[in-house]
């Protein structure tokens, strides 16, 4: 679980948001909402340890570091979809069978694209590629920055369903979104102004 107390993030001497307190338990999903520039990305990056210019306390109580999806996709344009997914998965110490990858690709609507260079994919397709390692992993703690942006209607519904599944398995998900999202289950939110 995660507990955040009195978190204040500073950017160029100015407080982006101040004295934020919340906690997330296993089996819960937390949505970070707020308009552009309210600090959603910074909050996610702070939680994951990428941003250090903050005051307050962040306590993770986890056995392994969470899976992270950043604002930038982490997809290398000169590698194929499969190579990218393999690399991303190896970062998380996971192994998978080829059949598993096929299933995930089919689920994401990326079947038969495995040997395509990622430079040739659309923005939404790339987003799906960066979602793939999450589905191939046993790690139930996810931190995602704007996972829904760029996805089509089916993609949004699909990711919402994945969220619901993970929650049922006792997962802990924190994601940011600038638009309201419905998932298969209760959703708590932190609002940044």
């Amino acid at each position: 679980m995660l507990e955040v107390e009195d978190l204040t993030c500073l950017r160029k001497g100015r407080a982006l948001f101040s004295e934020l307190s919340f906690s997330v338990r296993k089996g819960e999903i937390l949505q970070v909402v707020g308009p552009n520039g309210s600090g959603k990305t910074t909050l996610i990056r702070t939680l994951v340890g990428l941003y250090t210019n903050f005051r307050g306390e962040i306590n993770w109580n986890l056995s392994e570091s969470p899976l992270f999806m950043g604002h930038r996709s982490g997809i290398n344009d000169h590698m194929t979809v499969r190579e990218n997914v393999e690399w991303l998965v190896s970062l998380n110490d996971q192994v998978f069978k080829p059949s598993q990858l096929d299933d995930v690709m089919k689920n994401l609507g990326l079947a038969k694209l495995e040997s395509i260079f990622c430079a040739d994919l659309s923005f939404g397709q790339k987003k799906k590629v960066s979602i793939a390692p999450f589905l191939l992993s046993d790690n139930l703690c996810w931190l995602m920055d704007e996972p829904f942006s760029g996805l089509d209607k089916n993609g949004v519904a699909l990711l919402g369903k994945f969220f619901g599944d993970r929650m049922a398995e006792g997962g802990l998900i924190i994601f940011s979104s600038h638009q309201p999202v419905s998932i298969g289950g209760p959703l708590r939110s932190v609002v940044l102004s």
Binding site: L50, N76, E83, L91
Partner: protein
């Protein structure tokens, strides 16, 4: 170890897909040497005397120039922050990066060396020493170049700054490696130079990872 293998494989795939990253430094190197020959003149005695100077200067510039981009792609597409978050050893990551960079820039350079040596009227012993010098000095140059690349990471592409920052640090390796060639041409022992170059290399590989990791963490932060 698996992470090292995965990283280095990824690097090599990238170089394979973008052969210009391998070819451009090589062509640049050949061009600088060619222009220097034009400037010095084709006379044999003179060439043998000054050729080591521009061979090394060209190698230095070519390596530094190509090293400037080693982290850029990963920084821009967000892979770097994923590596930082994943908790994988950044030291292994930078080691894989610089090793791959060293392999793809230096191996062609060593292969090119006999050819260059013959056109510059070097005898076989000098060519051998030249290759040895390349193998000994370029790891240090690669590592220092990576430090420059990491410090300027996140700035708009500006090769000049990396040059200004890192070239002063290239002075010691340059001194020892040119000294080695000159010693061999004068028929003196080259072993002391080998020791010095190795010493500098070990120092660089011991200290550089710390610096590189700090720089990469910093770059991932913004």
């Amino acid at each position: 170890m698996t992470f090292f293998k995965a990283s280095i494989r990824r690097e090599l795939i990238n170089y394979h897909r973008k052969p210009s990253l391998v070819l451009n430094p090589l062509v640049f190197y050949g061009l600088v040497v060619f222009l220097s020959v034009i400037a010095v003149g084709p006379e044999k005695g003179q060439l043998v005397q000054v050729a080591p100077a521009f061979i090394w200067t060209a190698a230095l510039l070519a390596i530094l120039m190509s090293a400037d981009g080693v982290f850029r792609n990963d920084y821009e597409d967000g892979s770097l922050e994923l590596v930082v978050v994943s908790g994988k050893s950044l030291a292994v990551y930078v080691l894989a990066k610089t090793t791959a960079h060293w392999i793809v820039t230096v191996v062609p350079l060593v292969l090119l060396m006999p050819l260059l040596g013959i056109t510059l009227f070097f005898d076989f012993r000098s060519i051998w020493v030249l290759c040895l010098g390349i193998v000994l000095v370029t790891p240090t140059l690669s590592i220092l170049g990576a430090v420059g690349a990491a410090i300027t990471l996140g700035l708009p592409r500006n090769g000049m700054l990396t040059f200004v920052l890192i070239l002063p640090f290239y002075v010691p390796p340059l001194i020892f490696v040119t000294g080695m060639i000159q010693a061999s041409q004068l028929g003196e022992a080259i072993l002391p130079f080998v020791y010095w170059l190795l010493g500098i290399f070990f120092l660089a590989i011991a200290l550089a990872p710390m610096v590189l990791i700090a720089c990469l963490r910093m770059a991932a932060e913004d």
